[in-house]
């Protein structure tokens, strides 16, 4: 499998690069921590309201920290035209895109685990740890959706002026279904009555992921061909 080999090689490169430079990941992690603090100052999270606020706050933090971090990873590809060299080699655009989606997904998941841990510590909400195996599913599906759209858009906006400002503007309205699906599924896992299942929301996430992965694979070449 040439495709898989190429893809994994790029993922490996991204992860190595990230662990040496720690640029995107540190932006994401510190921003998520900062946002949690800001949220606490704005809404005053107490033990009475933490259960009802948790899912919403977490997903807003994921979306904002995520999109800024993803902007950074594609910026470093753009900076010295590094991605062009990859595309001039035998690597196909599709495997390049998939690799970028996977490495962004890994960074997102790392940031999310960190955010959840910080949330547990800052707001004494241990239920997040106990339900973590169930939470992992919407987390994975939602982050995949973020990564699929975020990767595409980050390449698109870094090619323009004021890219950093435009990126959230393009990204946030489009991922509204992911936000709704992720928040609702998380909320049911945390607060739902015993019989309640988040299945319907996971379906929304799966539909979004499949639809946008398919379309993005077709469209990605129109962004990088120059």
């Amino acid at each position: 499998m040439r495709f898989a080999g190429n893809t994994l090689a790029i993922v490996r490169k991204d992860i190595l690069l990230e662990f040496r430079g720690k640029e995107a990941l540190s932006i994401m992690i510190f921003l998520s921590l900062l946002l949690l603090v800001i949220f606490n100052l704005a809404v005053d999270i107490q033990s009475e309201n933490v259960a009802s606020l948790a899912s919403g706050i977490l997903w807003v933090v994921f979306a904002f920290s995520g999109i800024l971090g993803m902007g950074k990873t594609s910026l470093s590809e753009r900076d010295d035209g590094a991605y062009l060299n990859i595309l001039f080699s035998t690597v196909s655009m599709e495997s390049f895109y998939i690799a970028k989606v996977i490495s962004n997904l890994i960074f997102l998941l790392l940031m999310e685990v960190f955010t959840i841990l910080s949330f547990v510590i800052l707001f004494n909400y241990e239920r997040l740890i106990r339900t973590f195996p169930a939470l992992a599913i919407p987390l994975l599906l939602g982050s995949l959706g973020f990564s699929i759209v975020g990767t595409l858009f980050s390449f698109l906006s870094t090619g323009s002026r004021f890219g950093e400002i435009i990126l959230p503007f393009l990204f946030l309205p489009l991922v509204v279904p992911v936000l709704i699906g992720g928040v609702s599924a998380t909320d049911i896992i945390l607060n739902g009555s015993p019989g309640e299942s988040p299945a319907k929301w996971l379906k929304v996430l799966v539909v979004f992921d499949l639809l946008y992965l398919f379309i993005s694979l077709i469209l990605f070449r129109h962004i990088v061909e120059e």
């Binding site: 890219g163 393009l170 709704i180 609702s184 129109h222």
Partner: protein, 227 residues
């Protein structure tokens, strides 16, 4: 100038249809029993909403055609349709709000249709922001075509998600049910009128934009020749 004649014909036709549809809406259509005259705004509101979707739909199709054919003709049509769509969706949000205040007693409610229109509105604001930010003509066309395609595909997904999302919250009861046959006729008349009006606006916007496009091309050619 055959197309010029057709356009003049359509403008003439609209000069009759538009006042006629306003006459029908305000004079002929019966007054709604519970909501009263406020309900008349709905003839406009629905027509505007369909017109907005016509604009965004055309933007979607032209964006695909641009990526296939790579000629600026389709990009010009795409953003012309998008501008008209954005204008009408703004009016939809405003007329909807004006209607909701007396009837639902709120300016805004998080109903699936409202949310879908609002999200769409934001997506196309982003579309035009991106266009402003990219000076290179072909790149601008390519990038915005991608937003045009992805944005429109979001409509059914947002609609589905917001519908389910609302269903766990209290829902505002929808009035209506059996519409008076006369109301249906007035509705259809104003809908058709507005769709023709929208198409005309898009066409005229396109003609202007396309002329600009060609003038720019000539300027560039002259500059290349001199420089």
């Amino acid at each position: 100038m055959k197309s010029g004649k057709i356009i003049r014909g359509i403008i003439l036709l609209l000069a009759i249809l538009l006042p006629a549809s306003f006459y029908l809406i305000f004079q002929v259509a019966p007054s709604e029993k519970i909501m009263g005259d406020v309900q008349r705004i709905f003839y406009l509101h629905i027509s505007l909403a369909m017109s907005a979707y016509l604009g965004f739909g055309l933007l979607f199709v032209s964006s695909i055609l641009f990526l296939v054919k790579k000629t600026l003709y389709w990009d010009t049509l795409a953003f012309s349709a998008g501008e008209v769509g954005l204008l009408f969706s703004t009016l939809v949000l405003i007329t909807g709000s004006l209607w909701a205040r007396p009837v639902w007693n709120v300016w805004w409610t998080w109903d699936p249709r409202l949310v879908t229109m609002l999200i769409l509105w934001f997506i196309y604001i982003g579309y035009f922001m991106l266009r402003k930010a990219i000076p290179e003509r072909m790149k601008r066309a390519r990038y915005s075509a991608i937003i045009g395609i992805l944005g429109f595909l979001d409509v059914p997904v947002v609609r589905l998600a917001t519908k389910w999302w609302r269903s766990i919250h209290p829902r505002l009861a929808r009035e209506g049910g059996g519409l008076d046959p006369l109301m249906v006729k007035v509705m259809l008349f104003s809908l058709v009128t507005f769709l023709i009006f929208t198409s005309l606006l898009i066409y005229i916007r396109f003609r202007v934009a396309w002329a600009e496009e060609r003038i720019n091309e000539i300027f560039n050619d002259v500059e290349d020749y001199n420089g």
